[in-house]
Symmetry: C2
Subunit: 462 residues, 2 copies
Amino acid sequence: MTGLLRREPRVVCAGLGLLADAIARQGTPVTRVDWAPPMPGAEHDLATVLADPRRAQANELAVGRMLGSRAQLVDVAPASEALGLGPGEFLHAGPPITWERASGPMRGALTGAALFENLTGDPDQAGRCVDVLEPCHQHRAVGPMAGVVSASMWVFVLEDPSDGRRSYCSLNEGLGKVLRYGAYSAEVIERLRWMTAVLGPLLRAAVRRNGPVDVTGILSQMVQMGDEAHNRNRAGTLMFLRDLLPAMAESGFPASDVADSARFIGGNDHFFLNLAMPACKLAMDAARDVEGSTLVVAMARNGTDFGIQVSGAGDQWFTAPALVPDGLFLAGYGQDDANPDIGDSAITETAGLGGFAMAAAPAIVRLVGGTAATALTATERMYEITLAEHPLFGVPSLDFRGTPAGIDVTLVARTRVLPQINTGMAGRVAGTGQVGAGLVTPPAEVFPAALAALAARAAKAG
Amino acid sequence: MTGLLRREPRVVCAGLGLLADAIARQGTPVTRVDWAPPMPGAEHDLATVLADPRRAQANELAVGRMLGSRAQLVDVAPASEALGLGPGEFLHAGPPITWERASGPMRGALTGAALFENLTGDPDQAGRCVDVLEPCHQHRAVGPMAGVVSASMWVFVLEDPSDGRRSYCSLNEGLGKVLRYGAYSAEVIERLRWMTAVLGPLLRAAVRRNGPVDVTGILSQMVQMGDEAHNRNRAGTLMFLRDLLPAMAESGFPASDVADSARFIGGNDHFFLNLAMPACKLAMDAARDVEGSTLVVAMARNGTDFGIQVSGAGDQWFTAPALVPDGLFLAGYGQDDANPDIGDSAITETAGLGGFAMAAAPAIVRLVGGTAATALTATERMYEITLAEHPLFGVPSLDFRGTPAGIDVTLVARTRVLPQINTGMAGRVAGTGQVGAGLVTPPAEVFPAALAALAARAAKAG
């Protein structure tokens, strides 16, 4: 102890700047540690959950399953066949929602889907055609933006080769006036009809001829090529095209269909998003239902609510009103035109990509705003709230350190650091389409809500 | 003046650490400036050239032409047609060389070309089949590694749309046992025959059907996607494939040829190198022959000598023995197996890509060695010896600052900072093929030699 008195004091000050300032004024070096109290109201539940003896092992198991998941594209099929959807049955993005509470872009997309399915010719009658409306997530599917899937749309079928589990996602339509952003004009419906008549069947023939496409392998490569797999899927799209084109050429389809499909995919840098998302869904589904685990297994938005699901809390959604993203707008649009956050695409962030991998994709700031430092900082902060570094997603500029992967509810509640999501922005008025892209977080309230459920389960188990 | 005495001294110390240390020991803050004397023997010529009144304007003109050049792929054709090569006539990489002085990989590539052209069936007789041997650069062409072009090989034909100037480069064969690395086994010749029978004609049909392909546009994009266009051409290759595949599908060629060609291009991440190089050649040729300009317009190696050409010194080569690159080796090979530096591919560095753009391609260090910091530092140092920042090659991690472009002989001689080249390494024994990849610089002597010629011309003009 006397040693302490004989040498110069070394002071570490956590949180309050006032104390650190006072010591610094006395000429003593002080190391400042950024610290804040946990989220308000979460203190008691946090203590309960942190004390849950099952937690460490449960998280290790859940994270191991997430990181061990691999995704292959094994088929392309109509949703009626792959998901068993019938007329009047629709899937949507985010936690459960009714037509009555649905936002403009969600209603716009459902309207377009009803027109596409010939359930009505009158956009104003679309609401009456919606007999069943359920979350994609409930059907092992994910959908970007409004995420609406109806029976005649074709979907990618992904499979984890280790256990045969599957996930599903619609085919990407491109940008601008497209269904997933809530547009339903004639050009939107026309494009969907071509995708159903030509693109889907041709891709199915190519995949069946080629054999499974290694989607996880492409994800791993694209992170080396400036993509973060949410709002930049440029390299991923090109690699998908490369892998499937020989089989497309040899599919027996007319050369003009092959050329049109190659042009459509090659002309849409976001095409691979609809393969990245179900690959992440497969990984996160692998981590579900581990009792005691505090791992977030889904973050999803329906344009009204933001919801999360947690491994140790079953299928329960913890929801709060979705925030409006902050970012850059297409010409003619501004903040007032933006709908609150929408889409299942935050499954990419849930799995260690998207906003969590922005350091690998500095060019993303040209789309969502900010500087190269914004992208680096976003990734670096996410290490504070995640349980692992993804061994397959090495960030070149961080000397191939794995992206932060696996959000822990307790770390979010303790640090108040919210998951960073980058996202497209839909117009709030049905029929508008895309208005911009930007950055957003979940509403903070969903984490204490999840923590309360985990605490109740821990108490019951303990 | 008395103000100087009344305030604290502010000391800046250039070069010698000894003086700075002495001041620091007296408790006075000192700003250290990294400085070294110019290259030995270059002082007088440097003074002459720096005093040349034509220099500033000449460099502005030359650099403006370089940065303003655009490259389109307008055709694919046999070298007999595009370059007028006949039997026994061969082009090679680097400054002029004879068979007698040629290195192992250069002789190996010439041997393979002679076998491919059916000039002989005996590898040992190949040297006798070489009637004409001239640099690619002399024929507005460039060739990676040995860079050997013979009459029956097909070449890309690039054109600058603003003035109709053209440049040429062979089609890339892939990695490993390939002609350009000096291999000439049966599989090498077989592959060249397929390229001549199928790939070349199919690409010609596709380019003619599609119209010109914007090679500069792809270069600009690929720098956003982790490529530096010398040893990483992954995204470039994918974009080239994307742009040409629809026309390939509709070319009328059998689906199996289309599929085989798509597989060949898609399976070779370096395919686009042979488009990047002639695009850079077009840009640097635009800057040639400006009297008084100190801009380097070519850096090229033949496996024995390294040569540079300078805008203000006509077609004269300034040469010195090529160095051996330092880097990583393929399994089974080591430093002793490496041939000295070889190839025209340093035209990419000459134009602001390759080693100069490594900050945009941190994953390159996995190929050539080093860490992400190596890549960043390489680019940052090159700003010291270049005249411009390339407006089309923005580095994402440097907030889209243009790559350092346009090497100035006077800046190299004054700072002793040598151009950073990253490169493949050929085995020194003919027939070996690739043994590794790494980093290299020109031999320093070529810069004082060029400076002496520039000084002589300046004296004559002045």
